[in-house]
Structure formats: C-alpha cells, structure tokens
C-alpha cells in the first residue's frame, strides 16, 4: 500500500526539483526482531521514485556489517543520507522519519544534495574550531512539532564540519536507548553521550555544548 498520497507526492517531487547533486538513501534493516523495518524500507522506496536524483541502497544489517560500521549504524531501521560521491556526511535517521519528522528528512535530503542555506559568519568561525569528533543524538517523537527544528540544526552542523556526526533517534522505536539517556521530554539533544539539553534551542546553544567537548 502506498504511504504517500497523490497530493504529497506532487508536492514533494516539486520540492525535490531544487536538489543539486544526487543523494543516496542507505537503508539498514533486519529480517527479524525489527517491527518497523519493512515499513521503513517501503517508505524509502516511495521517496526514491520522487526524483531522478534520489537513489536507494538497501542493506541487511546482519550481512553488511562492514557497511554498517563504515556509516556508524548500530540500530535498525536506520537511514543514512550519502552525498553525490556516496560519502557519509554525518546525516542519519534512526527509525522511520514519519509524522512531523518527515520535514527534517526532506530538508536533510535537500541539504545533502548541496541546496544549502548558509550559516552566519560568526557561527562558521566557531564551527571551524571544532577539531575533535562530536556525535549529536537528537531524540524525537513523531507527534512533536518542534522536534524537526532540532534535528535540522544537528544535521546542519554535521554537514558544515566533517568532525561532527548527527543522528535522529525516534524515541518510541528505540525505547532502550531512550531509557539509557533518561529521555522523557523531546527534543532531547545528547552530545558525545555526556552533555545534554532539552528543547529546540538556538544554534548557539548547540555550539556552546559542542565546544565543551573540545
């Protein structure tokens, strides 16, 4: 059954016309013990049909351990957005980006394709000084209207600096990880598993927390 109706398909294909380079959706699923893997894969198959510039690569997590490792995938389903040269830019979605989160997913595809909004100079300067590896986890629920904003900011930072890796984690699908980080309000942002804050805070707050890890 199609997940996208005609109206949404049309809106999205129009929007994807603005893509610059090609983008590959690397989708990691498991055959067993993964309730949402099938749905995630068919959702991505539908997204692929919306633009010639979007490609899908489906990986079985268990048989493609090497690929999973290369992209830092530990959960399933997981979707990694690869750029025109099929390189990992630090943009990852763990769990289905449905509900409100479809917005950060679409934005992610556009940005990985190179259709970027630029950051103010002052923030670019701060980003240049981030030289040690940073991982940003953004926990979300699909009914949360201000979660996509936080996910977009994290991914934006990852795209601007190769040392930063950012991932959305859909908290209900990955209850164990959410419990580990005591998630009870979203969006919750956790940096290098150590520094955290709640809410769709301004980009400067992300930078302040990231700077603590350097």
């Amino acid at each position: 059954m199609a997940l996208l109706n005609d109206e949404i398909r049309e809106q999205l294909s129009g929007f994807f016309k603005g893509m610059k380079e090609d983008v590959t959706l690397a989708v990691f699923t498991k055959k067993e013990a993964c309730e949402t893997c099938k749905e995630a894969e068919s959702f991505m198959q539908e997204i692929e049909t919306l633009s010639d510039k979007i490609h899908l690569e489906a990986y079985d997590f268990d048989t493609h351990q090497d690929k999973a490792k290369e992209f830092g995938v530990t959960l399933t389903p997981s979707i990694v957005l690869l750029d025109g040269e099929k390189k990992h830019q630090g943009v990852k979605f763990n769990g289905i980006p449905g509900g409100h989160e479809v917005n950060s997913f679409i934005k992610g595809i556009m940005e990985v394709s190179g259709a970027l909004d630029s950051l103010p100079e002052s923030q670019q300067e701060r980003l240049k000084k981030i030289t040690k590896p940073v991982n940003i986890k953004v926990f979300v629920t699909l009914g949360c209207p201000h979660c996509p904003g936080a996910v977009e900011k994290a991914h934006k930072l990852a795209l601007e600096n190769p040392n930063i890796d950012a991932e959305m984690i859909e908290a209900q699908t990955f209850g164990e990880v959410s419990n580990k980080f005591n998630v009870s309000s979203v969006p919750k942002v956790v940096i290098n598993d150590e520094f955290e804050f709640v809410g769709n805070q301004p980009l400067d707050t992300f930078l302040e927390e990231i700077e603590k890890t350097q």
Binding site: G99, T141, L142, P145, S184, V198
Partner: protein
C-alpha cells in the same frame, strides 16, 4: 503511517541587511503573520524575523474556535497562515532570536543573537508567550526528567504510567483528555477553580481514569533520577499530602516573551508590553501585537485580528510622519 508535511515552497525572498524596511515584524505567530499580510497589502516594504515560525499554534493539537474552521490541527491552520504570507513574497527570516533593539537617529535597529543587525522605520513586536513555570522546588531539577510542558510531544513516554497535570484552563483540560488515552491514571491538580470552557470540562466525565483535585496547591516536586511524586496542599482542609506519579505536565498559562525589549519599551508587572488602542508602545514608531501586549484574552483569532489592526496603524503612522530617508552609510555598498 501519518505524515505532517510542512514544506512551504514558493520563490524564496531573503531579508536584507542593507535595506531600510518600512516595518519589521518580530515574531512569526498569528499576530506577526497577519501584521505582515496587511502591511504587504498596503504596499509597505515589510519583513518578518522570528524564532519558531508558526508560534504557539504549532504546539496545539486541535483548534476548534477559529472562525470558519470547525476543527483543524494547529499545524494545519498555521501552515495556511504561513502559505498566505509567503505567496505575497514577504521575506521571513526564521530560526533566529532577537536579542536587543536600539535606535540610530530615527531608525530602529534589530540586533540578533547571531550578531546580525536589521533596520526599519517602524517595528511591530509580536513575540507572543511561552509556558509559565510553577516556580516550586524540584521543577527545574526534574525538567525533562518527568516534568514536561508539551503534552502532544512528551505524552508517549507516559504510556501506562501515572501523570499529574497542573492547571485549570483550556490547555490543562485538553491535555488531561489527551493523556487519559495514553496514561494509566491522570490527576488534574489546580490551585483554584476551573477556568476552562464548560464544553471541555464536560468531556472529563467520559474518562474514569481522570481524577480532579481543585483548590489544591502544588508545593514540591520530588524524585531521584526521575520524578516520583509531588507534594500538594489541600487549601480547604490545610492538609498536606504526597501524590505518587511518574510525570508532571505543567499547563498553567503563559508568560510574555518580552525580555529582549524591556529596556526599549515600557512593560507592566506581568511583563506585557503596554499598548494603546492602536497598538502603539511608548516609543515612537514601535508597535506591539498579540499575546505579548496588555490586550486582554490570548487566543489565535484575537492575536491575528490584533496584527491586522496594528499593520493599519503602522501604515497611518508612516503616511503622517516625514519619511525617514536611509542615511548614506546604509545605502552605500
């Protein structure tokens, strides 16, 4: 699977630092968006600067009191507002925070937290409000650890658990109903009597897991790693007791977002910007609209209506005041 798509297309127009605007609207909720709509249609050069486009309406699950729409998701309604304004090619700068206002001669300057500065002949302040906090011990400590301010966002974490809702207005009652479908038990606690609409209060009866405690004051939030209880005072009997709970949703009203402006315009002790019937503040050329103002009652339709009125007042102001020309240093590039 449900998708709440919210991409706003249309030709993108950008806000420019070198332009002297007729009016800059700060805040992208219903008040700010309707100000922009009316100002643009009056032929003014207008721009919008906002943190979260859509404002509080984005956090509302359903709206049932906006004329013409019997029932609509908050997001669906506000996306219509945004689309309408964007189709008129009004530049909207979003996800930025205004930190300070000041003046260079007759020109108002808007300073953003990221260091950028924009200039305008007039300003409309429409930054709305944010959830009010309880201000009791434990609230800050357990914020995000069981203390929550957005029921539609954080409700799913309390599936099968017990929650307390603080408040007696529409938002609190709506949250109680939403959460009753997820949580095992919902305790609705309010320090006085209900302020909510009777149609909503009547719905509470349909849920036998909702328990109502009026005239009950919350005193302290308790817990270890996460919230595990709340200390309350029954104001009729004077008795203190502890309610065990896994989460507390605070829905006790809203506080105006006027911090960035308090040194520029006059505000009252409730932190509302003081305005007259035309939305004028005490500073010449600076107006305010919506939840942020002293105008009573804070609703989507009243804020939107206020925005329309203020845009017209701005237009009159610009028509009757000698046109300020951009100084040389602004136009020179």
């Amino acid at each position: 699977m449900e998708l709440n798509l919210d991409i706003t297309e249309g030709p993108k127009v950008h806000l420019k630092k070198e332009v002297l605007y007729d009016t800059l609207v700060i805040g992208g909720g219903p008040a700010g968006l309707n100000t922009a709509l009316y100002a643009k249609r009056k032929g003014l050069n207008v721009g919008v600067i906002t943190e979260r486009l859509g404002g509080q309406v984005m956090d509302t699950s359903t709206v049932e009191n906006y004329l013409g729409y019997e029932s609509m998701t908050g997001e669906g309604l506000v996306n219509k507002f945004i689309g309408h304004v964007q189709n008129l090619q009004v530049p909207i700068l979003k996800e930025v925070r205004v930190e300070k206002l000041d003046k260079d001669g007759d020109i108002h300057q808007v300073h953003l937290k990221n260091g950028e500065v924009y200039q305008s002949r007039t300003l409309v302040l429409a930054t709305g409000s944010k959830p009010r906090k309880l201000g009791i011990p434990g609230e800050k400590e357990f914020s995000g650890k069981g203390v929550a301010y957005c029921a539609i966002c954080d409700g799913p974490f309390f599936e099968g658990l017990d929650v307390v809702i603080a408040g007696g207005g529409n938002t609190a009652v709506e949250s109680a109903i939403d959460l009753a479908k997820i949580a095992a038990r919902v305790d609705l606690v309010h320090r006085s009597q209900f302020r909510a609409d009777q149609v909503l209060i009547d719905q509470l009866k349909n849920y036998d897991n909702i328990h109502i405690h009026l005239d009950t004051q919350m005193q302290e939030i308790m817990g270890e790693a996460m919230v595990n209880g709340i200390k309350v005072l029954d104001r009729n009997t004077g008795e203190e007791s502890i309610m065990n709970t896994n989460g507390i949703f605070v829905e006790i009203g809203y506080l105006p977002n006027s911090d960035a402006f308090k040194e520029y315009v006059q505000i009252n002790d409730r932190r509302e910007i003081i305005v007259d019937a035309f939305g004028r503040t005490n500073v010449d050329g600076v107006f305010a609209a919506g939840d942020i103002t002293t105008i009573p009652y804070k609703q989507i339709i009243t804020s939107a209506g206020d925005g329309a009125k203020v845009a017209l007042a701005v237009n009159d102001y610009l028509n009757t005041h000698a046109r300020i020309e951009a100084p040389q240093k602004v136009v020179a590039k």
